[in-house]
Amino acid sequence: MTVLQLVNNWFKNFAYETQNLFFFSLRLVGAFFSRRWYVTETMEQMYLIGVGSLYLVVLTGIFAGQGFAFAFSVELADFGAKNYLGRIMSIAIIRELGPVLTGLMFAARVAAGITAEIGAMKSAHQIDAMVAFGIDPIKKIAVPRTIALVIMLPMLTIICDAIALLGAWVIAVFVAHVTSTMYWSAVRDRLIFGNLFIGLMKPVVFSFVIAFIACYKGFASKGGTKGVGQATTQSVVMASITILIVNFFITRVVFSWIKGYL
């Protein structure tokens, strides 16, 4: 096989996958507007996805916040601008770090879980059995997980933001010797509509990205345990990369829309 053919095949595959993912997402969104709501499933998923990810998000927030604060405080000290640490951390964490890191953590933990679970159900014919019972597996399985994600990811992003700012505060006060009041007032300075809007809009979009990709990969998996393994890997990779790409475009586009508020 020549390189050209390989590239060609890869491209065709990519187009095919994207198209399928698109149609799947349409169906998933369509299933939101149905009469049947699986409330218990949704609550259960909110618990599993949200509460279950809490420790991960807290750890991520603390260490990422401290790491960045440390790096910046050294740079800023050179300019004698240590008092601006709070401002920089506020912008960096709320607009970029919090949403992206939480999104990536969810892509790893939640997307993998969803894809593996649906894939395993599929390979054991449980999805077929569900269909045979007259149940729409998209409504029963995909919709509750999507709703749970859309609610929990923004909430955990806020928690991650808060913890990261706290982590940065530790560095600011004990390493960079910025006063506590100085740090928090600088942070508050940048807690403005534009930043908060971007910072909250991102997790909402990311949650749909994760839900669509994870559910799609699960339902499309085939070939037994090995197939489920591959689907899970692909799901995590695809969700993570998509989050990073989408993040860039949101920052880029929304930034220009709401410049006036920044």
Binding site: H125, D128, A129, F133, G134
Partner: protein, 262 residues
């Protein structure tokens, strides 16, 4: 009533069924036999509308399942009970929840009532309800799982059609005997049409009077035991050869006794 008219089916490029036609009347029991990989399970999947035929029609109660919309198809499926080849029990639900699945999903009955009926059904399929009802499917033996699967298929709003995919494969003679009795009992008491897929010749003769042999995706034989014995079709001979020698006794005796129910 189930009718297949000139059905062709293929997975991707691999043809699986070629010009399959047969009719199963109301309250008729039919056995489908054939070597492994000949397309028996595929026929059942098509009847349930889990896959669509490439050509031809599949009529269930005079409706073409290949062309029905999602809503009407769901209604048809509610009339059909399916026992999957591997059971396809929901492994995250308890035995009780599995057996009561239809009622949980499609009725507003309280759990107490559903549990009562699930217990009765477990008794009906010959399991100790108290012992198994709170267990997970993984904690049961293969034969017990098979019976739970049958119970789950039965506990709906009175299925009019039952499809069994190899209900006795891999079971000990005692469990096999129980399951065959169960299938016959159901058939007698509720006068539903049933299709039993099996390659256990002895079991086949015990549950039906009409036999269909599928060979490499084609109907090689369709008729009574008498006709089967006389049949000189190469493909049927090929399939029956091992049994003619080793199971002569059963073959002859069952023929004389007419063990299958009316």
């Amino acid at each position: 009533m189930i009718e297949l008219r000139h059905v062709h089916f293929a997975y991707d490029t691999q043809p699986v069924l070629r010009d399959v036609s047969f009719l199963v009347d109301d309250s008729e029991a039919v056995v489908i036999m054939g070597p492994s990989g000949s397309g028996k399970s595929t026929i059942l999947r098509l009847i349930l509308g889990l896959d669509c035929p490439r050509e031809g029609e599949i009529l269930v109660d005079h409706k073409d399942v290949g062309r029905l919309g999602r809503g009407p198809l769901r209604e048809i499926r509610k009339k059909i009970g399916m026992v999957f080849q591997d059971g396809a029990l929901f492994d995250s639900l308890t035995v009780g929840e599995n057996v009561g699945y239809y009622l949980i999903e499609h009725t507003k009955l309280k759990w107490d009532e559903i549990e009562r009926r699930a217990r009765a059904m477990l008794g009906f399929v010959g399991l100790e309800a108290d012992e198994v009802i709170d267990k997970l499917p993984d904690q049961l033996s293969g034969g017990m799982r098979r019976r739970v699967a049958i119970g789950r298929a039965l506990l709906s709003t009175e299925p009019q059609i039952m499809l069994y995919d190899e209900p006795t494969t891999g079971l000990d003679p005692y469990a096999t005997h129980n399951i065959i009795n169960l299938i016959n009992k159901l058939h007698r008491e509720r006068s539903i049409s049933s299709i039993v897929v099996t390659h256990q010749i002895a079991d086949a003769f015990a549950v039906a009077k009409r036999f269909i042999v599928i060979y490499r995706g084609e109907v090689a034989f369709d008729g009574s035991l008498e006709e089967l014995r006389e049949c000189r079709d190469e493909r049927v001979e090929d399939f029956l050869a091992p049994f003619r020698a080793s199971m002569k006794g059963v073959f002859e005796r069952k023929f004389v006794d007419g063990a299958a129910p009316e």
